[in-house]
Assembly symmetry: C2
Homo-oligomer: 460 residues x 2
């Protein structure tokens, strides 16, 4: 009889907790949807500051403004965390032409991030199309040497989540130019990594390899890539040449900062739950979805806690990471100092897939049994808000360095709807106008709800 009583009192207390959680999550969503401030904060970041590539004056401006903004909310701690960041500049706008005999056809290109410049007067060479890095090897140095390699691997539309398409097609941008250089290529033109057919070159980082010549590399719009490809199919080499000129340069590393706000835990002040995004952006637009939305949602998590009177047991930090796009130095520094300061990190959530309607979270490398428990305990609570897709998957580049430092930390990726992200990603279209207020706010509320659940219940 005693056993039965115990069991039923456990059930009751579980029900009580669930009901209490359910009330708190409803409060969080109401606050974010009715009194939300992330949308107007994002407007300021996009419209009054704009692009903020690491090392730029605008990046510094964004750091200073973010610090002030956090100060205005009266969190328990607000501070900067210094880190040195790469400082790459695009310089004057690029030029690109397909040269077909005497005909010069202008095409929209943009230097890939971290690329070297072309010679001052530009670079002209025969151009050869490949669909993959693998294809380079089959062609070999005899074919590639002295040419510009045109990486035209297609986006695979069959993936349901576009992140998978990006990962697959993206290899040619990350690694293609360095691979082409190994075979003696003099330049690389890379099809923009996007499911969309449009006239925008999508920039993004490329990675050189030590000991291999750095060749200039640019993204070309998908429509121009299709045009170039069809011209190459119709005419045989060496009739089609390509010319491009880009003016980028790598400056010495610059001093910059992560911006951090904290609500200190009432019970376990040295245990941390981090929620973050990255403050830096590429230079072509306003970095609205990438990743102004992520930082402003993270800030909103803390604001919503304060507004609803929720005092977390553990310390909760909103971190605006610096330099995700071309270096990851902010993320590295955050983990390094966490170790140095003997902090204990129990979880981190990153929002860096755009501020679209939230669908759930992915949990990085946790045991299947743990993911099952998370679903069992929390899925029902998140279902009314349609953010209950709790899956295995990646987290985020800025929080990943925590993985090595804190073996038991649970790293989590915020997962919004993915369909529109890569249409605008790293292009001039990544602007405030393409962010929907409610979508952004729902995401912030979803993040706050998960932080709340972790804070209350941990993962055990």
């Amino acid at each position: 009889m005693k056993k039965i009583l115990l069991a039923s009192s456990l059930v009751l207390s579980t029900l009580g907790l669930q009901a209490q959680d359910s009330v708190m999550i409803r409060k969080i969503f109401d606050e974010a949807l009715v009194n939300g401030q992330c949308y107007e904060n994002l407007r300021y970041l996009c419209k009054n500051i704009g692009q903020r590539l690491s090392g730029s004056a605008n990046a510094q401006k964004s750091v200073e403004w973010s610090k002030k903004l956090m100060d205005s909310y009266g969190f328990d701690k607000v501070y900067l965390q210094e880190c040195m960041v790469p400082h790459w500049e695009r310089g004057a706008k690029e030029q690109g032409f397909i040269i077909d005999g005497t005909n010069r056809i202008p095409v929209p290109i943009a230097a890939l991030g971290m690329s070297v410049a072309t010679p001052k007067d530009g670079l002209t060479a025969n151009i050869i199309e490949v669909k993959s890095i693998k294809e380079l090897a089959t062609l070999g140095e005899s074919v590639i040497k002295g040419k510009i390699v045109f990486f035209n691997g297609p986006w695979d539309q069959r993936f349901i989540e576009t992140g998978q398409g990006y990962g697959t097609a993206g290899v040619q941008r990350f690694a293609g130019p360095a691979e082409a250089a190994k075979y003696g290529a003099v330049g690389a033109i890379v099809r923009s990594i996007t499911p969309a057919l449009d006239n925008y070159p999508h920039t993004g980082g490329t990675v050189y390899v030590d000991g291999v010549k750095k060749i200039p590399a640019a993204a070309i719009s998908t429509l121009a890539a299709n045009k170039l490809s069809s011209m190459l199919r119709l005419r045989k080499l060496p009739l089609i040449k390509f010319y491009f000129k880009q003016n980028c340069r790598q400056l010495p590393d610059a001093k910059s900062y992560n911006v951090i706000g904290e609500i200190t835990g009432t019970e376990k002040p040295n245990k941390f739950i981090t929620v973050g995004g990255h403050l830096d952006s590429w230079d072509l637009a306003e970095g609205a979805h990438d990743d102004g939305t992520g930082v402003m949602q993270s800030l909103e998590v803390l604001r919503v806690f304060k507004a609803t009177g929720y005092r977390p047991k553990n310390s909760v930090r909103a971190v605006f990471f610096m330099n995700e796009e071309n270096g990851g130095r902010g993320g590295d520094k955050y983990a390094e100092l966490a170790v140095k300061n003997k902090e204990e990190h129990i979880a981190a959530i990153e929002s860096d897939e755009g501020g679209f309607t939230p669908r759930g979270f992915s949990f990085d490398g946790i045991p299947a049994s743990m993911l099952k428990d998370i679903n069992k305990n929390w899925k029902k609570l998140l279902e009314p808000y349609e953010v209950d897709r709790l899956t295995a998957g990646g987290s985020g580049a800025d929080i990943e360095p925590l993985k090595d430092a804190f073996k038991s930390a649970v790293l989590i990726g915020f997962r919004p709807d993915s369909q529109r992200y890569f249409d605008i990603h790293h292009t001039p279209n990544d602007v405030f106008e393409n962010v929907n207020k409610r979508e952004l706010e729902l995401g912030a509320a979803a993040m706050a709800s998960l932080v709340y659940l972790i804070d209350q219940h941990g993962f055990n």
Copy 2:
């Protein structure tokens, strides 16, 4: 032993079916995402035809083009279904002013659909704000008589799905003007039914009541509504007046058509699964999300079946319904003729909530046990495509008349992400550019997958 064998062979055959279903659904999504045609079909409808309000020349043009388009796909049957539709015209663009002493402040308004015109020189009267229809009754005829009633009920942002916000705030548009007339109001100005703060009046139908005077009614943009409200708060009546002029008229009913394509069932040709949207639109824009996406997705279901070589057992129809927006005559006619022709309707799916990322389907009025079975049998199959939210809920205005006619027909609403729909709904922003190709195609594939499952397995 025999019993055990039987059980395990049942399990095997179930697994076999699931595997076969899973392969077919993958094929459907691949076809829609790689070779999809709904996006380009929608482009034509929006850009080459545009708005197509019932009874208009453009509506007729859209009927003729749709019929030709369906013919080009070589379905088993393509035909028109005649129906008489209301013919309302907006006439010249409306004018609206807040009159504050000698100051005339122009505000964006648009006549509500089916509204009567103002007198030729416009209508000027004192204006009184109410937040709900209920508030009218508390004020009574002594206060309302001779005035313009300003319905300024807010959109409730707390709803997660915006359809609920629309239903709640929308009452003042559907029923408000007729209610105000009962108390002697001379006109009605209604806050646009949208969660967005912008400068667009959102049109949409209003419903007059027999025996009550028809008063002119217009939508006002949410920003202008806020301005008017704050002016009314600051100054006491009768200082603030309102002037508006609208030029709409009701013409005699016009002949129009539903457009229908059919793949005839191989086993049960007289059993029907309908998938549809509505071809007509409001007159202010291109009717892209409302409901060009719905008709083009419905057509795509049939195209995908043909392209993948799938021959349904039951007859599957894509129906482009006419006159959803201001009459529902096409839906009525479809059900009426289905009865007359002794058809048997087993299911109908309507897409009329925009062409956004699909999240699932809602099932109208089915028993809880049936919904449970649907989830048990099909949820897992739809989960990889993130369209597995299978809930109780509404279906669609065009297929609802089937409910009375066919008691066992299952009526289903296609449920895309709802966040952006009411931002552009019934405004000049409902244009092709606001439709995302992949979102649209994923929706078409989701609809085709559900039709396939119903065709294969029914609901038992």
